[in-house]
């Protein structure tokens, strides 16, 4: 807990770097790396007095993140070229969107797969165009494939056979089985064009999506990074005229009001983000805070029971109980590859 608290405090208040003893840096750097926030920390500590070795390590992390973003933007360009002839809107999500839109949230942001959102009725067309342009299915298993198609908010993952990069094609931002039902058509309708022909979500919808991803889907693994996205986005957009009221309205429309408000409370708590309309701190927020900070200075996860509880919750959120039982039954009965003697 101490290392994670210290790390979060440093992101919040970079001037604290000057007070750190040399032996505190190695655990901090390991923890930052395991949360995919090393390059973000590097940006945050830019201009602070740092030990020479720490400066070198952080410079390398920044250069690596920049190269990663160059590759991510190229991948977006490749998808754009494959999909442009169809004339359907292609909306970049998450890290690639931040980088393409030139937002401060992109600074040091690590980017893995390319995530895009397209209209649901264009899915077949999009899938076809991507397959023609060299993407291939990653999973061969028929049950997994069916599972994605019936119950998920995205196509099964595709990987490009030459560039070895994955693309996730979403048609909405939460699984259809989740209780909140975001208005995907409105997300697309309100999206903002970039010069390139690609689009990004409108600023309040970016925040709604980040909060949905963090609190309505998944087990909060790597959550400090997603929460950092929220902080960066809110600091950028929070001073715009009417932003907070618009955010509240959009959150309500997508049935994600409580999730967004929890995101605001937690990012204010951990990163000191100036927020409005967040509501009062709730007892359950403390559990989320403990879960977010469940990592030590060796990069190991801690608080096993709490993490397990959030893991169970992630399935609960995603599926009604009967369906969950059937899903786990099928998974457990699945033929395993033969064991080697």
């Amino acid at each position: 807990m101490r290392d994670a608290q210290l790390f979060v405090a440093l992101l919040r208040e970079p001037a604290g770097a000057a007070r750190l003893a040399p032996e505190q840096w190695t655990p901090l750097l390991a923890l930052a790396r395991s949360e995919s926030l090393l390059a973000s920390l590097a940006h945050r500590l830019d201009g602070e007095p740092l030990p020479a070795r720490v400066r070198t390590i952080l410079e390398d992390a920044r250069a690596d993140a920049e190269q990663g973003q160059r590759q991510a933007l190229w991948e977006a360009e490749m998808a754009q070229r494959a999909l442009a002839p169809m004339g359907v809107p292609v909306i970049l999500l998450k890290g690639t969107a931040f980088a393409a839109a030139g937002l401060p949230a992109a600074e040091g942001r690590s980017i893995g797969d390319l995530d895009i959102l397209v209209p649901r009725d264009a899915l077949d067309q999009v899938q076809e165009a991507l397959l023609v342009a060299g993407w291939e299915w990653v999973k061969e298993d028929a049950y997994d494939d069916l599972y994605y198609r019936r119950w998920m908010h995205e196509l099964p993952p595709l990987i490009h056979r030459e560039r070895d990069r994955m693309i996730d094609v979403h048609h909405t931002i939460l699984p259809p089985t989740a209780r909140p039902k975001p208005d995907a058509a409105a997300l697309i309708e309100e999206s903002v064009p970039l010069g390139s022909g690609l689009r990004v979500l409108a600023p309040p919808d970016m925040i709604v999506h980040a909060a949905a991803h963090l609190f309505a889907d998944g087990d909060l693994a790597g959550g400090l990074r997603n929460l950092w996205d929220l902080d960066r986005l809110l600091r950028r957009f929070g001073q715009d005229e009417g932003f907070w009221e618009e955010l509240a309205a959009r959150a309500r429309r997508h049935q994600l009001g409580p999730h967004v408000r929890r995101g605001l409370r937690l990012t204010a708590r951990l990163y000191g983000t100036p927020v409005r309309l967040a509501g009062r701190w709730r007892a359950s927020d403390a559990l989320f805070e403990r879960r977010l900070l469940a990592r030590n200075g060796w990069g190991q996860t801690t608080r096993r029971p709490l993490r397990f509880a959030f893991y169970v919750r992630s399935h609960w959120l995603r599926m009604p109980p009967l369906m969950l039982a059937r899903h786990l039954w099928t998974k457990s009965r699945r033929q395993r590859p033969p064991m080697r003697a």
């Binding site: 032996e23 190695t26 750097l29 390991a30 395991s34 720490v54 390590i57 390398d60 590759q71 060796w298």
Partner: protein
């Protein structure tokens, strides 16, 4: 982590944490005389953990984890903890090192210039670098050579040399027992024994050298030397690099410079003595 060992190897600081004492004790013995990480800050952390909680005591099984992890990496027996640490450190370099173009190669220096040797496992590049290190050259590394894309200098990575099978016997004839690690028998890589480089290699681990000769050694045939064209060297070195693609344009620039400026030869050799003679002859002619 219960037990911890930290060491500087060339320009990189490592921290190795272990749930057992034995691997750390072996590391301390093997790396005697190496400095701790520069400024007290480690670039990378390696963790030797029980594969499952109960495997700390029952049939101890060492999972190799750290800042960077291979999801399918097989765990090792506790008796092979030293190998687990070595593989963990290699993995961090292969996946996490982004400052230098990382070449899977051995290297040795003389007069500020160095020979770079790369080849498949079993080509004898480790043993050859180790032998040069005992015969008037400074040993720079047996596994990774680090090419700086800004200066085009090669930085040493003189970790303990990982000797296999016949390489162990070749070096036992040259070096007393105090610099050797324990025998590691029946590992996934066969029989292994580590050798601590000479003191000069450790003391000068911060000094880079200018690449002057690239060799592709092959063990087994009669001595033969053939030139290798820049295009072939380029392709073979991209295959010998774990981060060429990740470095993007910097990697391309560094490698292009290397293959156009530095002569390259493939050498076949029947034994260590012949290999050393061939290296010395090529060095006199080309460097």
């Amino acid at each position: 982590m219960r037990h911890e060992f930290a060491v500087q190897v060339g320009p990189v600081g490592f921290r190795v944490g272990s749930e057992w004492r034995a691997p750390v004790a072996s590391l301390q013995r093997l790396y005697e005389g190496y400095p701790p990480p520069e400024g007290g800050v480690a670039d990378f952390s390696v963790r030797l953990e029980a594969e499952r909680p109960w495997r700390r005591w029952m049939k101890p099984s060492v999972a190799i984890r750290g800042d960077y992890v291979l999801p399918d990496a097989a765990p090792l027996a506790l008796a092979h903890g030293l190998l687990a640490a070595e593989m963990g450190m290699n993995l961090q370099m292969a996946l996490g090192q982004k400052r230098y173009l990382l070449l899977h190669a051995s290297a040795a220096e003389r007069d500020g210039k160095c020979v770079l040797m790369t080849g498949a496992s079993g080509s004898g590049k480790s043993t050859l670098a180790a032998m040069l290190g005992e015969h008037g050259w400074r040993f720079m590394g047996d596994e990774f050579a680090l090419l700086d894309p800004e200066t085009w200098l090669l930085h040493p990575f003189p970790r303990a040399i990982s000797l296999k099978n016949r390489g162990i016997h070749a070096m036992e004839e040259l070096v007393g027992p105090d610099r050797f690690g324990p025998w590691l028998k029946g590992t996934p890589k066969g029989t292994l024994r580590h050798l601590r480089p000479r003191q000069d290699a450790i003391a000068r681990m911060g000094e880079p050298a200018r690449p002057a000769l690239i060799l592709f050694p092959t063990y087994g045939a009669d001595t033969a030397v053939r030139p290798v064209g820049a295009a072939e060297v380029f392709v073979r070195l991209t295959q010998a690099s774990t981060n060429y693609v990740t470095l993007g344009e910097r990697g391309f620039g560094a490698l292009s410079h290397l293959v156009t400026e530095v002569p390259a030869r493939a050498i076949d050799y029947p034994d260590g003595k012949a290999a050393m003679e061939a290296v010395e002859a090529l060095w006199a002619e080309l460097s």
